[in-house]
Point group: C2
Chain length 216, copies 2
Amino acid sequence: MSEIVLHNYFRSSTSYRVRIALAMKGIAYRYAAHHLRHGEHRGEAYLAVNPQGLVPALVWSDGTMIAQSMAIMEFLDEMVPEPPLLPADPHGRARVRMLSQMIACEIHPVNNLRILNALRERYGADDAEVASWFRHWVEATFEPLEKMLAESPQTGTFCHGDRPGMADICLVAQVANNARFGVDMAPYPVISRIHAACMERPAFIEAAPMKQPDAE
Amino acid sequence: MSEIVLHNYFRSSTSYRVRIALAMKGIAYRYAAHHLRHGEHRGEAYLAVNPQGLVPALVWSDGTMIAQSMAIMEFLDEMVPEPPLLPADPHGRARVRMLSQMIACEIHPVNNLRILNALRERYGADDAEVASWFRHWVEATFEPLEKMLAESPQTGTFCHGDRPGMADICLVAQVANNARFGVDMAPYPVISRIHAACMERPAFIEAAPMKQPDAE
């Protein structure tokens, strides 16, 4: 058994998700930084860890490598059950996974750095166009997400009841990204309220991008 | 208690995933078709079911609506455990979720119909350019996926051992989509072998796009 290592990048919102989950669970780990803008994640050394060349990747204490932030969070929740990232009942778990994946499958993948770079390279998109693209996909999902949160009796202080979980983690990491592209949060009062409640919690604060050793 | 309804579209690969899972579990359901190219999923009637206006959405027998194919599959696996879509051990579950999400988070979201339409509308991408974009993101993930499957002793007849599960479902639905955009499968012999093994199974065959009532 050796140390747990998180391969990540301070500004990567999927890395941010995993850092929050690790902090909530109180799991100590070594922070291995890979500077995405410098292409460090595409180097041979890192490809030997994660052939996909993406962050985050978690190397568990027994040497098992797990990539994909949503898979990592599910694994952490199974290995260290308290505090839980998912509710105990299947219906509640389905709701939290659904809310999480609305962000993880519909917003983040189309707005991450490699896609935005591809828009610049293939179509000559400038900063304004890239920001417009980014905001478009946030709005396409935040509008129904706001509605679903506002209308459900299961929404509490957090996305599902009164303790934070997987959906809140995804929400906070996305809202942090939004700020960099000028997304107007005024149409999303419930999302904003949940974000504010999360940001009072130590695990969310210490996992924030600007608190990381590679922040610049 | 009433019938289970799957809101879906024959050609949607995320719908295909859920159809396979339902067939594997032997769960009977009503097929509610929404023609994506005609915008039927954006109508008021469907938005009242799923505010996100995307397929698939499952309405369980108690009236609970669950959107997002990965959340639906996890729910089905919890409600109807046999045959399992995930292994019993946390490490195996993490591996299958990782492989699944490589497809579900890195390929499908950037290649689905609304993104391809946005490339046409925003950047004037023509059919050849749209196909090039599609293939690029498939190749960026299928290359490491092939390597990870080829090098792991946990890969068997299927992605994880000798019975099909969540990763195989994602793989098959993606390979079906690939065929429509001329992806060369020659560089992916392990993926191709697993796909062929799946397509011998009744659940995969009956869930296929061209077997659905709305196929055209």
